[in-house]
């Protein structure tokens, strides 16, 4: 089953071509990588899928439904979750509140319920809370429920952010440089975490990453883009020896 299909995606930012004729197909449960030098257009692809930009040209299909043109919160409600390069947790709210808020679109009660504190409101709030606590348990973050993210280590924050993204039980998870800013020990843990998520949640994961250790050990397939154009696609071994890729990169981690 094809989870995500992108056709001929092209993006112009006032005359600057950020992305040119980008195509990809992700199947259910795949773990795919998207790599390229800085400024290649990787985050632009994610932003387009998420709904932050309208594509200049091209189509994006999620579970065979077109999603280009939808607002980000609508895309998320359909089953696409995402994390960011810079961790975007709500720092003045507790970890638990962060996770609970991710279910905002499926709260199941209305304004009248919340003003009158009806039975439905109480039950639904409790249910959301329980779901959030369950998730924290699965991720072994239970003790941190009442902590504020700003007091946690960067690695833990990253973990919370990924947990938050999964709280809506999406079918596609977009990870934007999850290893960015992590010390090497945490990177090893991150690789295990993503492995585990992939097996546990059985979801498709699409990952942008610069650290080759992460990409090569996790992804079954990698797409390489440079200056908005796909220059290579294949398995990790193929990409490692692809001359075009080596030329474009020349400078990141050891392959």
């Amino acid at each position: 089953m094809t989870v995500l299909k992108i056709d001929g995606l092209t993006q112009y930012f006032s005359g600057l071509c950020a992305l040119s004729d980008f195509n990809i197909k992700l199947k259910a449960g795949e773990l795919v990588g998207l790599i390229g030098p800085n400024g290649a257009g990787k985050t632009t692809v994610f932003n387009l899928v998420s709904g932050f930009y309208q594509p200049t040209k091209g189509d994006i299909f999620f579970l065979d439904q077109p999603i280009d043109g939808l607002k980000p919160h609508q895309v998320t409600s359909r089953g696409v979750a995402r994390t960011f390069q810079n961790i975007r947790l709500w720092n003045e709210m507790t970890v638990l509140e962060n996770i609970m808020l991710a279910q905002h679109a499926s709260l199941g009660y209305g304004i009248r319920d919340l003003f009158f504190r009806t039975g439905r409101y109480q039950r639904r709030e409790q249910k959301i809370r329980n779901l959030a606590m369950e998730l924290l348990e699965i991720f072994k973050l239970t003790e941190l429920a009442e902590e504020k993210p700003k007091n946690l280590s960067y690695g833990l924050q990253r973990k919370v952010e990924i947990a938050r993204a999964l709280s809506s039980r999406p079918q596609l998870l977009l990870l934007d440089e999850p290893a960015a800013g992590l010390p090497s020990q945490d990177v090893v843990e991150l690789i295990e975490l993503i492995h585990w998520i992939h097996r546990e949640f059985k979801i498709a994961i699409w990952m942008i990453e610069h650290q080759m250790k992460v990409v090569m050990s996790l992804c079954s397939r990698i797409t390489v883009i440079d200056f908005g154009v796909v220059i290579a696609e294949g398995t990790p071994e193929e990409i490692q020896h692809h001359p075009g890729v080596i030329k474009a990169y020349l400078g990141d981690d050891q392959l």
């Binding site: 985050t43 932003n47 932050f52 960011f84």
Partner: protein, 307 residues
């Protein structure tokens, strides 16, 4: 046809005031990304300073034995007012805004401070000078030029000319001088600028001097044109000029200049065809409409946040 020309001339004059004030707003915003809400009140302060200076020079204060002719007094009043008003503006910067800037305070806090400074200026004036309005002395004889049924005074022409001159001067400073470049640099990256050896505080003080002296100039001209002064005169015209600057594209000198005239035209045209009580209603509604179509203003550069 002639009444149209008359209206256009009136609009140009009225718009010149908005432009002058809008230019001051945009200078400070362009550099500091700060909406200096006190700016309108600085114009008021300028008008009052001009009042006292000119009264003094004309010999109205018998304890000080000066008595200049109207024209001479005017020639001195304008630069004196501009200098004194700059002092007021710079003092605001040093006392209220700079400490917050040093602390890296959230922009909102500076904006609120600016709003409050405006209030202090208005009500301080009210407290010090009382509620009775001051009448600005007549300094230059009005000369009316008539072309058919269209008439325009020398003062009106002077105001319009001044607005254009100030615009070209500011545009020159900002685009062609080194300090202008420094001003623009600060608006892009406040932190990199000192690292490049540019004394950020000096540039900011210069910006305030420029902006406040323009406010002072606007104050003098306004007082000459509409001689009744009251402490709240800066309030409405300040807010409106600010909105005009935003509609034009705040941060851009051309935007402020254009915005001021657009507002001037709107107001004069509305009053020409509708009862004057509808003036604010229409002008604000149209301005809002323009903003809806172009949220960053006519000349504004859309700011994108990196996601």
């Amino acid at each position: 046809m002639e009444s149209l020309i008359q209206n256009i001339l009136n609009a140009l004059q009225w718009g010149s005031f908005y432009s002058l004030i809008a230019l001051g707003y945009t200078l400070v915003y362009g550099v500091l990304l700060l909406i200096n809400f006190a700016h309108g009140d600085i114009v008021m302060v300028g008008a009052y300073i001009a009042f006292f200076v000119s009264s003094l020079l004309l010999g109205h204060y018998h304890s000080i034995p000066i008595a200049l002719s109207g024209g001479m007094a005017l020639v001195l009043t304008i630069p004196l007012t501009m200098i004194l008003t700059s002092i007021v503006g710079v003092s605001l910067e040093r006392i209220a805004y700079r400490p917050l800037r040093r602390k890296g305070a959230h922009r909102l806090y500076v904006v609120i401070t600016a709003l409050m400074c405006g209030l202090v200026l208005e009500n301080g004036n009210l407290a010090l000078l009382g509620a009775s309005r001051k009448k600005f002395p007549e300094m230059v004889d009005k000369v009316i030029y008539t072309f058919g049924t269209v008439s325009v005074t020398n003062l009106k022409i002077a105001v319009i000319l001044t607005a254009f001159l100030v615009f070209f001067l500011l545009q020159f400073i900002v685009t062609k001088t080194k300090i202008g470049m420094a001003m623009r640099a600060i608006s892009y990256d406040k932190f990199a600028v000192p690292l490049m050896g540019i004394p950020i505080d000096s540039v900011i003080v210069f910006t305030f001097i420029l902006g406040s002296s323009m406010a002072g100039l606007a104050g003098v001209l306004f007082a000459l044109s509409y001689p009744i002064l009251d402490p709240y005169m800066g309030l409405t015209i300040g807010w409106k000029a600010f909105i005009a600057a935003v509609v034009g594209g705040i941060g851009d000198i051309r935007g402020a200049f254009a915005g001021g005239f657009i507002l001037g035209f709107l107001e004069i045209m509305v009053v020409a065809f509708f009862p004057s009580t509808y003036r604010d209603l229409f002008s604000f509604s149209i301005l809002l409409f323009i903003l809806t179509l172009r949220p960053t203003g006519l000349f504004g550069v859309p700011k994108t946040t990196k996601i």
